[in-house]
Symmetry: C2
Subunit: 114 residues, 2 copies
């Protein structure tokens, strides 16, 4: 069968206020989708945790992307599941840099499953 790919971006040392702001958190997903050259289909789910923290998942033509944040720890992770390999050769590096910029993060580690 076709093999899907999973990328996990582990974000640490990020700004707590940004991690709890839904428009900012959604920009993380936009950053991943744009750099991977993928296509949202217009269906998404979002949840705000009490007292803080957000989860957002967005369905793509090629599978889905999601983000989960822990403002109290300054951490988040973003996952991309895709049945099509991201377009750019520098996808993981460029995406990590974009996520660090959006969230004011000290560190972004990447893991991949393929």
């Amino acid at each position: 069968m076709d093999r899907n790919l999973v990328y996990v971006f582990d974000v640490a040392g990020a700004d707590a206020a940004r991690l709890d702001d839904e428009p900012t958190v959604r920009r993380c997903l936009d950053a991943v989708v744009a750099r991977a050259g993928l296509t949202p289909v217009g269906a998404d789910a979002a949840h705000r945790f009490t007292p803080q923290g957000l989860s957002v998942a967005v369905i793509l033509a090629e599978s889905h992307v999601a983000v989960h944040t822990w403002p109290e720890r300054g951490t988040a992770y973003v996952t991309l599941t895709t049945c099509r390999r991201p377009a750019g050769a520098d996808f993981t590096t460029a995406t990590s840099a974009a996520l660090a910029d959006v969230l004011g993060a000290a560190r972004v580690d990447v893991r991949a499953l393929d």
Copy 2:
């Protein structure tokens, strides 16, 4: 930082009609969540592709679970992303059997990222 876990269940040789039926496909997610001992928070996203195929993502207290189906190929994959290790020691085996049963599948392979 805390390490999240990702499980991917690759389903093959499944029944095309079941793969294109949203209630059946949602039962796949219920099967994963129940066996992992996790908690949906009531937010989900679903998309029906043309001419066939479904994607559903459900936000959990512990992150998210999603399924993507290709009825024309008899394939699907289910992903679980979680910040808490699934409860049962036989989680992957029991979940694979449950998915095969729900989808009438010949084969379910498991991959994990931790």
